[in-house]
Symmetry: C2
């Protein structure tokens, strides 16, 4: 048995070291330097080259190094074996930190107070809303969306969620499917997007969606937070909606093109906050341990968990 | 029965309206325009003039409009009746928002990413710590400190607390008294001060305390957050400790003198974040309802709650 790493845009050597630390007998090799393709039973991938996994006739499973798997399904010659996403408490917690921090910074008007400090102005906004009057709406209620929702709820926000299929979550009102999307948007002051990228969700964050968000909230809004995937958003629409006042602010961790091109107007827009796709940085050790644990259990006869549904692509 | 308002630095008329809305028969009057001093059974105060409460021979209780009561005990001629502080879920929640937001902003290095954005730099810090490796220490474990502690814990931080007397809190390691203060400081990367101002705590946030904070943490530190009272801190020491590197950053909601004087160096120090004593703005309606509820129950024979211990002054 061996592991083949097909990694682009991250440090293959580092991942090889972290994964190799988990095995004493099985080789962990970096494609294309694979000693014996027939020995490869597992592939660990990040933006692998399309077609490059087809050489392994004994391949049993493909692992993503992140929560997203759109980079895997981008391969039209993808072998027909289970695709497993990473679900890791560390990554989940980091995403929730980013979400909670930016919701708080918006509600508490941190940008305004930063400006006031720069001008030596001592003044408090009398209209500071209570958290329960600020309506956060989370698109995507998988592991990440649920965790962020519960933490926002603990802080006191009024939280609802939207997902493709109906969900029951304690303390969080849920909306499901295309039919309930408008009602969800109409009650949302701060929209948090944690959706997977699929053919259905590509470009979903566009001008027509922004227009349906609440405009009567207790905080200046509406506000968009996107930490899902850049291809979920139409950046020209975000800029236009910020200019027209349809959107009040945007906090973006992901972009149509990454790194965000130098010439993008998003960099210097006063109502845009940018993070370099690090809302939830993977902890390599934790992820290597997750993948190793899955493979060891699978080899011992247990089923794989967190297998992606090919039809839904998440 | 009547209520006398002794309010300085806040809008007396506004408070009169909010409190009067709770009573149909009893007058709510603003000192010094009191119709009948002998009818005054309750005083509602904020920085009242020393000696001004001595005229009410039938006074039964004094209420503070905020969580702090140091402004009341500053009066050497304070009548010997119970002093009641405001405990209000709304105020508590707002304080925790401020604490959680600033702890997150520090851990997630928001200021650095803001700077990077201004320079169009796309780069992620590989040393981003996990929340469990960031040690927040809360000084003051009353209602505010406990709520902030539990919410920080939910986000994932490693939280401990210090108070004058021993406390048992679930999931939060506690230290008590002068004897355990050094051990508490030695394990603290982010120090959150929510102490009451008493003769014992005045000036406690000084250079000698800052030197005892942890210097080996997973985040650049140590960091001071103070939302207690300005007189807890020695601002000259904060500035000096920031210059020498003994402190890495300070987030201050309260100041020795408020409003913070225009000439203060704190305004423009790059490692200082200032908010205008609004970490937990009182919601006048909620506070008026709290005071009215207390008085009505007391009139009906129930004991007052949240009565301040005169010896401890909190």
């Amino acid at each position: 048995m061996s592991l083949a790493l097909h990694i682009n845009g991250m440090d293959s050597d580092l991942w090889q070291a972290h994964l190799a630390a988990q095995w004493h007998d099985s080789p962990v090799e970096i494609w294309p330097a694979i000693t014996d393709p027939n020995a490869v039973e597992y592939a660990v991938t990040w933006r692998h080259q399309a077609g490059s996994l087809g050489h392994y006739r004994n391949l049993r499973a493909i692992f993503s190094l992140g929560a997203g798997v759109d980079h895997i399904f981008a391969d039209p010659q993808l072998p027909d074996v289970p695709v497993v996403r990473v679900v890791d408490g560390d990554l989940t917690g980091r995403m929730s930190e980013w979400v909670v921090m930016h919701c708080l910074m918006h509600m508490r008007q941190q940008r305004m107070y930063d400006w006031q400090q720069s001008e030596r102005i001592w003044a408090s906004d009398p209209l500071q809303p209570a958290a329960q009057d600020v309506r956060v709406g989370i698109m995507g209620l998988g592991v990440l969306g649920q965790d962020a929702g519960h933490k926002l709820k603990t802080i006191g926000f009024n939280v609802a969620g939207w997902a493709r299929r109906p969900r029951q979550l304690s303390g969080i009102e849920t909306y499901a499917g295309a039919g309930e999307l408008d009602a969800f948007l109409a009650r949302t002051d701060i929209l948090v997007c944690l959706l997977p990228l699929t053919p259905e969700t590509r470009g979903i964050l566009n001008a027509s969606l922004f227009e349906k968000l609440a405009r009567d909230g207790a905080v200046p809004g509406p506000v968009l937070l996107n930490a899902g995937r850049g291809q979920l958003q139409v950046e020209a629409d975000i800029l236009e909606s910020l200019e027209s006042g349809v959107l009040r602010a945007a906090v973006l961790d992901v972009f149509e093109q990454e790194p965000l091109p130098q010439e993008s107007e998003l960099w210097h827009h006063p109502a845009v906050t940018i993070s370099p796709h690090n809302a939830a940085i993977s902890n390599p050790q934790a992820i290597a341990a997750f993948i190793a644990g899955q493979i060891k259990a699978f080899q011992a006869g247990a089923p794989l968990t967190h297998v992606v549904d090919r039809a839904r692509q998440y």
